[in-house]
C-alpha cells in the first residue's frame, strides 16, 4: 500500500475518532473535550498538508494518481455477470490532495473559531462531535474512488448537515430548516442514485476508472440519450448538495445553524462537494448534459444574486452569495472550464469561510443581532473583523489582486469561449448572466460592508419585539451571559484571539499570490497547471457525434488559432496564454475536437473576460457607493418605485411558496387521500367481504338452527317425552311392578288361550 494511501486513511479516520470520543465522553472530559476535536483536526491537517506537499509541490505532475481498493461486498459468481464484487477504495491525485488540505484546514479553523463562538452552549461537546463526523464524511467524498462510496459519504454529509443545522433544535425554525435541507438533498440524491444505477446497469461496476474505461471503449449498451440522462441525473446530486436552482431553497434556511457551521458546511466544503462530484464525472458528461449544467449554473448565479441584494439578514446575504458563487462553479463546469471551476471552488471556500466567520464574529459581538438594518459603524469597534471581512468581500466581488478575481475571471473566460464555440445565440446568455451576476455581487457586498461597518450604530432603532426575539434566540443559543444586554447601546467589542486567528488566516488565503504569480491570470498559477481539464470519454464513446462536432467546430478553430499565433510575439501574456493552452494540449490530446475547441477559446477569451468583468465589478461597487455612501439614490424610494421587483427579490422569487403550494401540499394531500383510500376502500372491501360472509353465516346458522338442528332437537324431544311418560310407570313401588309382571302374565295367558282356541 502506498504511503500516501496510509496517510490518507489516517486522515479519513481521525475525525471519526474525534466524533466517537466526543459523542460518548464529552461530558466526562474537561472543557467538554473541545481540545480533542481541535487537536485531532490539527493532526489531520498536518498529515493532509504533508500529502499536499508530496503530491502537489514535490511530484508536481498533472497526471499524478495513486489508488488503492479492497473488496467490500462479494456477490460471488453471479450468473450472467461472472464474479461480481463491490470495491471500496481511495484515490489520491492533485485534486484530492488539494481538497484534503482545504477541507482539513477550514475544518481546523472552524473548530478553533467555535471554541470561542460556541463557548458555554449546553451541547458544546456534541457540537464538536458533529463537526467531527461532518469532516469525516466530507473527506470520504473527497477520497472515494467509486460512485457507490461517494454516494454513501454524500448521504453522510447530508446527515451531518442535518444534525448541525438543527443544532438549536428547540427553535422550531431550526427544526424546519434541517428537515428541509435533508429532504431537498434527498431529492437530489435520488437523481444521483438513478444516474449511478444507469451506469452500473451497463458495466456492473461503480469504480470511476472502470466506468471511464468502459465508456471510452464504447461499451455503453443503451442509446446516447440514456448517457445524457445519466449525466444530468448525476448532476442532480450536485443540484441538491450545491443548492443549485431549483433545489437551492434549503441553503438560506440552513443559516439557522450556528454560524461556524454555516462557514464550514454551507459555504466552504459541503456545498462544494457537488461541484467536486461533477468534476469527478466531468469526462462522462455528454455535450447536451453539459449544456443543461451550464444553463442551470447561470440561472442559479443570476437568481441568487438578484435575491441577495434585498436581504437584510447578514447571513442570508452571504448564503445567497454562496448560491450565486456555486452557480458560477457549475456554470464553469458546464462550459467546460473545468480547472477554472475547481479553482473558484477553492478560492471561494477560503474567502467565503472568512466572510461567514467574520459575520459570526459580528453576530457574536452584537449579541446575536443578525439584521443588518440594526448594525452599522462596527469598523471602529472591530478593526480586525473589519479588515478581514473587507478583504474577503473584495475577493468575492472579484476585484483584482484577490484570489476571487483569478478564478471568476477564468470561469467567465471559459463561458465566453464556450459561447463562441457553440455558435452564439442563446449560448451567449450564459456569459451575459455571469457578468451581470458579477455586477450584482459587487453591489450587494458593497451594500453589506456599508450597512455593517460604516455609518452610525442603528441598534437602538430596532423595534422592541425584534429585540426580544433576539434575546430569545440568545437564550435558545444558550451562550454565556458574561456581558450584560440590558442597557440600550450594546457593548460591541472585538472578538477573542481564537476567533480572530481564523479570520486572518483565511483572509490571507484569499490573496492572489497564494495561487498565481500573476495577479491577472490564474492560468499561470500552480493550481490550474495541476488541475488540467481531463479529456472527455464520451466523444470517443460515440464517434459519429464526435465527427459531427468536429465538422461544426473546425472553422471556429481556424478562426481563433491564427489570431493566437500572430498575437503571440506581440503580447507576452497572450503568448503565455497560448503557451498554457499549448501545454494543456500537450498534457492531454483531446480526442473530442469540441472540447479542445472550447478550452482553446476559453484561453483566447481571457482578456475579454478580464475587461468586461472588471468593468462590471467597478459598476457594481460604484453603484453601491452611490446608493449607500453618498445617498444619491435612496434605496427605500427605489424599492417603492419598483415595488413588484423589490418584493419578488425580497421573497426569494417565491420559490418556497411555490414548493409549499405544489410539492409539499401536494404530497400531503396525496398521502391523506391514500390513507382515506386505504381505510375506506381497501379496508372497506375487506370488511365488506367480512360482513357479507357474516351475513351468509347468519343465514346458514338460522338454517342450521331451524332445520338441521331442528331434526335433532325433535328426536331429543320425542325421546324426552316418551321418557317422561315411561317414567310415570316407574313408580319405584314394588307392588306396581308386581302388577305389571302379572299383567304380562295375563297377557301370556291370553295369548296362550288364543293359541288353544284354534
Amino acid at each position: 500500500m502506498h504511503s500516501l494511501i496510509q496517510l490518507s486513511i489516517v486522515v479519513l479516520l481521525l475525525p471519526l475518532l474525534s466524533f466517537v470520543i466526543l459523542i460518548f465522553f464529552n461530558r466526562k472530559l474537561p472543557r467538554r473535550g473541545d481540545f480533542v476535536g481541535v487537536g485531532i483536526l490539527g493532526t489531520a491537517f498536518a498529515i493532509s498538508a504533508t500529502i499536499f506537499w508530496q503530491v502537489v509541490v514535490q511530484a508536481y505532475d498533472p497526471a499524478f494518481r495513486v489508488a488503492w481498493d479492497f473488496t467490500w461486498i462479494d456477490l460471488g459468481n453471479v450468473p450472467g455477470v461472472g464474479h461480481l464484487q463491490f470495491k471500496m477504495g481511495i484515490v489520491i491525485d492533485n485534486l484530492t490532495s488539494i481538497m484534503l488540505a482545504m477541507v482539513t484546514l477550514i475544518s481546523l479553523l472552524v473548530h478553533l473559531y467555535s471554541t470561542g463562538y460556541m463557548a458555554g452552549d449546553k451541547n458544546y461537546g456534541r457540537y464538536f462531535a458533529f463537526l467531527g463526523i461532518f469532516t469525516f464524511s466530507m473527506l470520504g467524498i473527497v477520497l472515494s474512488d467509486n460512485l457507490f462510496s461517494i454516494y454513501i459519504f454524500w448521504e453522510l454529509v447530508g446527515l451531518s448537515s442535518y444534525l448541525l443545522i438543527g443544532f438549536f433544535f428547540e427553535k422550531q425554525s431550526a427544526a424546519d430548516a434541517q428537515k428541509k435541507a435533508f429532504l431537498a438533498n434527498r431529492v437530489g440524491d435520488i437523481g444521483m442514485w438513478l444516474g449511478i444505477l444507469i451506469l452500473y446497469s451497463q458495466f456492473h461496476t461503480f469504480s470511476f476508472q472502470e466506468v471511464y474505461a468502459n465508456l471510452a471503449a464504447g461499451k455503453f449498451g443503451l442509446s446516447n440519450g440514456w448517457l445524457t440522462a445519466a449525466g444530468i441525473l448525476l448532476f442532480m446530486g450536485c443540484v441538491g448538495k450545491s443548492a443549485q436552482f431549483p433545489l437551492h431553497v434549503w441553503l438560506p434556511d440552513a443559516m439557522e445553524g450556528p454560524t461556524p457551521v454555516s462557514a464550514l458546511i454551507h459555504a466552504a466544503t459541503m456545498v462544494a462537494a457537488g461541484v467536486y462530484f461533477v468534476a469527478r464525472i466531468f469526462i462522462i458528461l455528454t455535450p447536451d448534459a453539459l449544456h443543461v449544467i451550464a444553463f442551470i449554473g447561470a440561472c442559479t448565479a443570476f437568481m441568487a444574486a438578484t435575491i441577495a441584494i434585498t436581504q437584510n439578514d447578514i447571513k442570508r446575504v452571504l448564503a445567497y452569495s454562496t448560491v450565486s458563487q456555486l452557480g458560477y462553479m457549475v456554470l464553469g463546469l458546464g462550459v467546460g472550464a473545468y480547472s477554472a471551476a475547481l479553482f473558484h471552488l477553492v478560492t471561494h471556500a477560503f474567502f467565503k469561510a472568512c466572510l461567514f466567520l467574520g459575520s459570526g464574529a459580528i453576530i457574536h459581538a452584537t449579541h446575536h443581532e443578525q439584521d443588518m438594518r440594526w448594525m452599522g459603524g462596527l469598523s471602529k469597534n472591530m478593526p480586525w473583523t473589519f479588515a478581514t471581512f473587507t478583504l474577503a468581500t473584495l475577493a468575492l466581488a472579484g476585484l483584482p489582486l484577490t484570489s476571487g478575481f483569478l478564478s471568476k475571471d477564468a470561469i467567465l473566460a471559459g463561458a465566453i469561449g464556450f459561447a463562441n464555440v457553440e455558435g452564439g445565440g442563446i449560448y451567449y446568455l450564459i456569459p451575459v448572466l455571469g457578468f451581470f451576476s458579477a455586477m450584482l455581487t459587487a453591489f450587494y457586498m458593497g451594500r453589506q460592508i456599508w450597512l455593517v461597518f460604516f455609518g452610525e450604530n442603528r441598534a437602538h432603532l430596532k423595534p422592541a419585539d425584534d429585540h426580544h426575539h433576539g434575546h430569545d434566540a440568545h437564550a435558545a443559543h444558550g451562550a454565556d451571559d458574561s456581558h450584560d444586554d440590558h442597557h440600550e447601546d450594546h457593548g460591541v467589542h472585538e472578538v477573542s484571539w481564537n476567533m480572530r486567528a481564523p479570520l486572518v488566516i483565511l483572509a490571507a488565503l484569499s490573496l492572489f499570490f497564494v495561487y498565481s504569480p500573476d495577479p491577472l491570470d490564474g492560468a499561470k498559477g500552480w493550481f490550474m497547471k495541476m488541475i488540467p481539464t481531463p479529456a472527455t470519454v464520451v466523444g470517443a464513446a460515440n464517434p459519429q457525434k464526435g465527427a459531427l462536432l468536429a465538422g461544426v467546430a473546425a472553422p471556429a478553430h481556424e478562426a481563433v488559432a491564427p489570431h493566437g499565433e500572430s498575437a503571440a510575439p506581440a503580447a507576452g501574456e497572450h503568448g503565455v496564454a497560448a503557451a498554457s493552452h499549448g501545454e494543456a494540449k500537450a498534457g492531454h490530446n483531446y480526442s473530442d475536437p469540441r472540447q479542445a475547441e472550447i478550452i482553446h477559446a476559453g484561453h483566447a477569451a481571457h482578456y475579454t473576460a478580464i475587461y468586461i468583468s472588471s468593468a462590471m465589478v467597478l459598476l457594481g461597487v460604484s453603484l453601491a457607493f452611490i446608493v449607500y455612501v453618498f445617498g444619491i439614490i435612496d434605496p427605500d424610494k427605489t424599492a417603492l418605485a419598483i415595488r413588484p421587483l423589490y418584493l419578488f427579490s425580497l421573497n426569494k422569487w417565491y420559490w418556497d411558496e411555490i414548493y409549499q403550494a405544489t410539492f409539499i401540499k401536494g404530497s400531503m394531500a396525496l398521502a391523506k387521500m391514500l390513507t382515506w383510500f386505504d381505510i375506506n376502500i381497501v379496508d372497506g372491501i375487506v370488511n365488506g367481504v367480512a360482513t357479507l360472509v357474516r351475513k351468509f353465516a347468519f343465514l346458514n346458522s338460522s338454517f342450521d338452527k331451524h332445520v338441521v338442528d331442528g331434526a335433532v332437537n325433535f328426536t331429543a324431544f320425542t325421546v324426552n317425552t316418551t321418557g317422561a311418560v315411561l317414567r310415570k310407570l316407574q313408580t319405584g313401588k314394588v307392588q306396581t311392578y308386581v302388577v305389571m309382571l302379572l299383567l304380562a302374565l295375563v297377557g301370556y295367558f291370553a295369548f296362550y288361550l288364543a293359541r288353544l282356541i284354534h
Binding site: 307392588q735 302388577v739 302379572l742 302374565l745 295375563v746 295367558f749 291370553a750 296362550y752 288361550l753 288353544l756
Partner: protein
C-alpha cells in the same frame, strides 16, 4: 272310614283353607289376617295328609305354625304399636289387583283343565313317606339338603344381624 266321609272332610278343609286365605287377604286388620293365616296353614297341612304326605304335614305345622307364623306375629307386634292392636291398613290398586286375581286364577285353572295330559296315572303314592323321605334325603338329594341347611343357617344369622338393635340402642 268310607270315601264319603273322607270327601266331606276334604271339602271342609278345602273350604277352611280357601276361606281363611281369602280372609287373610281381605281383612284390614293385620292381627286378624295373621290369625286367619294360622287356619290356612292348618288347612293346608290337612290337605297334605290327604295327599298322604304325613311327614310334610307335620313339618308344615311345626315350621309354619310354630315358626313362620310366630315370626309374622312378632313382626306385627314390632311394626304396629301395641297400643292400638286393631289397626287398619290401607289397600292400594284394588281394582287392578282384583282383575288380575281373576285373570291369573282363571288363567291358571283354565290351563289346568284344558290340558288333559295331567289326568292321574295309574300308580299313586301310598302309605307313609317318612322312610322314603329319609332315604331320599340321605341318598339322592343329599347335596340339595346340605345346601339348603347351610342356606337356612346363613339366612337365620343374616336375619338376626339385620334385625338386631344397633349400638345406639334406638329401636
Amino acid at each position: 272310614m268310607s270315601t264319603q266321609t273322607t270327601t266331606v272332610i276334604f271339602y271342609l278343609f278345602a273350604a277352611l283353607t280357601v276361606c281363611s286365605a281369602a280372609f287373610v287377604v281381605l281383612t284390614r286388620n293385620v292381627i286378624y289376617s295373621a290369625f286367619s293365616l294360622l287356619f290356612t296353614f292348618f288347612g293346608v297341612a290337612a290337605l297334605y295328609v290327604f295327599l298322604s304326605a304325613d311327614f310334610l304335614a307335620v313339618t308344615q305345622v311345626v315350621v309354619y305354625v310354630g315358626g313362620i307364623l310366630v315370626l309374622l306375629l312378632f313382626g306385627v307386634m314390632f311394626t304396629n304399636s301395641i297400643m292400638n292392636p286393631g289397626q287398619k291398613t290401607e289397600v292400594s290398586n284394588t281394582l287392578a289387583g282384583s282383575l288380575l286375581f281373576l285373570g291369573v286364577t282363571g288363567g291358571v285353572l283354565y290351563s289346568f283343565f284344558a290340558s288333559p295330559g295331567w289326568m292321574s296315572t295309574g300308580k299313586t303314592l301310598q302309605g307313609s313317606i317318612v322312610g322314603p323321605v329319609g332315604f331320599e334325603t340321605m341318598s339322592r338329594y343329599v347335596l340339595p339338603f346340605e345346601m339348603v341347611s347351610i342356606l337356612l343357617l346363613a339366612a337365620l344369622i343374616g336375619a338376626a344381624f339385620l334385625a338386631r338393635f344397633d349400638k345406639k340402642g334406638n329401636s
